[in-house]
Amino acid sequence: MKTTMKLMATTCLTLSATLAAADGHMADEMTIVSWGGAYSSSQENAYHIPYAEMTGVTIINDASSAEAVAKLRAMSEAGNITWDVVDVVASDAIRLCDEGLALEIDFDTQLAVGDDGSTATEDFGDLLVSDCFIPQIVYSTTVGYRTDLVGDTPPTDICAIFDTETYPGMRSLEKRPINNMEWALLCDGVAKADVYDVLETDEGQTQAFAKLDTIKDSVIWWSAGADTPQLLADGEIIMGSTYNGRLFSLIEEQGQPVAMLWDAQVFDLDGWIIPTGLSPEREARALDYVYFATDTQRLADQAKYISYGPARASSAPLVGQHATLGIDMAPHMPTDPANATNTFLYNYTWWADYRDDLDAKFQVWLSQ
């Protein structure tokens, strides 16, 4: 008897909850997709925990951002979107937007006004590269090396990767064409300004692959951001590319004998998109979340946990010290003048166009 009563009560409650949700209320559970590791935990600390405390929402973390485009395409084909907010890089956001898989955002009405009173459009400025993309951080892909394995002349420029004579040993590079192709051309004598023009031609692509061929046998290819730090810590490689925040955590938090090569660091943007095809209540929740998570204070908060530059201009003055180590974060940001002496501007619109083509060629080249 009791059980029946309980069951009935639960059913009533569930029903009314469903009705309330359908009535325009927001969902109370959401899946947020990101990159895992140190980066996800910085988001957890800066956004998820305060947001969950404020609203009582349960946030489920999913570290599938590396396959976000593929998985969202598959989900949309299957007609069942299980993600609410997805953290992607700018070029992926552009592709998803082109394909109608990401929601278009009205930046000035759907995002918070900056602390200094500037509208979101002014505050994000040039970083608003797509109608669907809400920028969060500026990060860079750069090279870390083992200080104890490189000998007396530590590398100073990016071409050390291709110099197997001075720096014999294994290196690690990302298992995709982005950055590798650009660095290969830069070190093959192509001027920085011409890289993408050259890469657009068949000869340019052949040239880049030929340069990569010279080190193919001494490369371990990584696909997860945590791979290079692990390989460096193991002493398995002497240098390798990865995201600057990962290297920061390896050097400052774990104290490994590793140093960073800021030369030709490739700036890129990372931010949120909201998939299209969500139910109204889930969409409302997702929009509410990104409104909260991209205001001035929240973006500055993330910089307490990881060395990525906040995407809002108004957040920059608020960047302070690391939450547990107590060191100043500003000198570790990729945008710090001392680090940004020779940066390479990554052309995400170019990559949005050429990604499919070059991915296919790169994969073939890898397996040959």
Partner: protein, 551 residues
């Protein structure tokens, strides 16, 4: 002839048949859950995979008008198609861009010719900025009725107007559907877009009668061909159009050709350029490596299984636990353990370095080096003779181990084929040991004793008496290990680097990253056929009845 009747008066035969049918039906009902489960979870996905490997509806669905007009284009002319094809492409692409299907089509065609994906992306963005609005302005200026959405809706519902302007009616319908579906607006309240006016203009110029007479002779025609060429001059490349034409049918063998490094050219099947050939190499590599893994498993598994089967029960149980423990341990844990063991700074290499530094190692090193170099010298000599016999002149490369001189170098045991073979042999070993053990358990050890008491040596007793009886176990183990290993992809992905990966890694890549499901399905189908072929061969040579998993 008298008819035998059953008790109820029916003919006996019919009655019996009925009883049998009922029995069969009952039996079918009993296995129905399993049957349905197998159909849903096994047969249907395989059928779906087979279908996906030939399905190619996307081109004709996204570019229906272009495909239809392209029939009139001579693909061997060496010229891009004429204006009417570009007009059809314009209509199709505007609609596709609104539905956002043009990028998917671009990705599909990009499998056949890299560069098309970006062509479609660029054109999708550019197509809205075409200067066809001069037509719109001219038509609207000629008569105000042409700018009234409600009037358009009335016209397009009128059969006479539709008969006079078939193309415009078709385009208007497609536009109206798009407005309702993609924009969620009402067509009778929206002014038609430029491309509807373009089709009206084109038809009027060809002499069709519009509902209100139009004099458009003063309007300068816009070349849509030039407009597309402005966005990207690749549109003038006949090869692009050949690809569109070749892949316009609803079914294609293109994915299968791609899986064997071929492509569909104008004059039939062609070999892909060398920098795009990988699949045949990968198939062969998969077969050879799976074979090596199987061989290693037999070599390692046979003595272990023999021990397990012949030791006293207590000791055998202990050993059995040692076999089963790794079998139950997660695949990822075991693979990661191998990473720790095999890497350059790993346990095995460290031990070797330590050994080479001890006086014992330094004493023995030259001996081993000498032996190894002797082996290499022998191999070289055999190759040399072989070359001499076959008339290939040029001698052999010096295959001597140069690290004997340079001192010990850390071995590259991971991120290559060696890593894959070591890790997968370890992972698949229980699948060899268990069937071998269960077969050996049934071979009475007394046979061996009998053979020896009749004067056989140890070897003869084993080879002539014991081994033939254990063959069914070897067969079962080999089939299990071989078939499992050609399907493996996680372990090769983690420890195989770029040279030690299997065809299944490509299938996984196409399913989860490149989303080329057609190609993945074709590769999967080929793999399935190869496995079935090998199974058939095995049945012919060894006989599948000889395979035993025990008992």
């Amino acid at each position: 002839m008298t008819l035998v009747l059953a008790a109820d008066g029916r003919p006996l035969k019919a009655s019996l048949n009925r009883a049998l049918r009922r029995q069969k039906l009952r039996a079918l009902m009993l296995i129905a859950p399993l049957l349905i489960f197998i159909m849903v979870s096994f047969v249907m996905p395989i059928a779906d995979m087979l279908f996906r490997s030939v399905e190619n509806e996307i081109v004709v669905e996204t570019l229906p008008r272009t495909v239809a007009t392209l029939d009139g284009w001579d693909s061997e002319s060496g010229q891009a198609p004429s204006e009417d094809v570009f007009a059809a492409l314009y209509f199709d692409l505007v609609l596709a861009t609104e539905y956002k299907t043009h990028t998917r089509l671009g990705s599909r065609l990009n499998y056949e010719m890299s560069g098309i994906s970006s062509l479609f992306r660029k054109s999708g963005r550019g197509v809205g900025r075409f200067t066809t609005d001069t037509y719109t302005d001219a038509i609207q200026a000629a008569d105000l009725a042409y700018s009234d959405p409600a009037q358009w809706a009335v016209w397009m519902a009128d059969d006479d107007v539709r008969a006079a302007l078939p193309m415009t009616a078709n385009i208007y319908d497609a536009w109206a559907t798009m407005i309702i579906v993609a924009e969620e607006d009402v067509p009778a309240e929206e002014v038609p877009w430029d491309f509807v006016y373009t089709s009206l203009f084109l038809e009027v110029m060809e002499g069709a009668e519009p509902p209100i007479a139009l004099d458009l002779s003063a309007v300068a025609p816009v070349s849509l061909r030039d407009q597309f060429a402005d966005v990207d001059e690749d549109w003038l490349d006949p090869v692009v159009w050949q690809i569109v034409k070749i892949y316009s049918p609803e079914y294609t063998n293109g994915y299968f050709l791609n899986s064997v490094d071929r492509l569909k050219g104008l004059d039939g099947i062609e070999v892909r350029p060398e920098n795009e050939q990988i699949y045949i190499t990968l198939f062969i590599r998969t077969m050879i490596m799976s074979g090596s893994i199987m061989g290693m498993c037999v070599l390692l598994g046979y003595p272990i299984a023999w021990l397990l089967a012949n030791l006293p029960a207590r000791k055998a149980n202990m050993l059995m636990i040692l076999v089963l423990l790794p079998f139950w341990t997660s695949l990822l844990v075991r693979t990661s353990a191998w990473k720790v063991l095999l890497q350059r700074q790993g346990v095995i290499n460290d031990t070797l370095v330590w050994y080479h530094s001890t006086w014992f190692g330094q004493l023995l090193d030259p001996v081993f080096m000498g032996l190894l170099n002797l082996c290499y010298a022998l191999v070289n000599a055999i190759t040399w003779v072989w070359n001499l016999i076959n008339g290939i002149w040029g001698g052999t490369d010096g295959l001597y181990l140069d690290w004997a001189v340079a001192g010990f170098e850390r071995l590259a045991l991971i991120n290559n084929q060696t890593g894959t073979i070591i890790a997968m042999t370890h992972i698949l070993l229980p699948f060899m040991i268990l069937p071998l053990f269960s077969v050996m358990k049934t071979i009475p050890i007394a046979y061996l004793r009998a053979a020896k008491s009749l004067g056989a040596t140890n070897w003869t007793a084993f080879w002539r008496v014991y081994f033939p009886q254990s063959v069914p176990g070897i067969g079962a183990g080999c089939i299990l290990v071989f078939i499992l290993s050609i399907g493996y992809y996680i372990t090769p992905e983690l420890v195989g680097g770029t040279k030690g990966v299997f065809i299944s890694n490509r299938i996984a890549f196409h399913i989860s990253s490149s989303l080329n499901w057609g190609l993945a399905a074709a590769l999967g189908t080929i793999l399935l056929v190869v496995v079935m072929g090998l199974y058939w061969m095995y049945d012919k040579i060894v006989g599948i009845d000889n395979v035993k998993l025990g008992g």
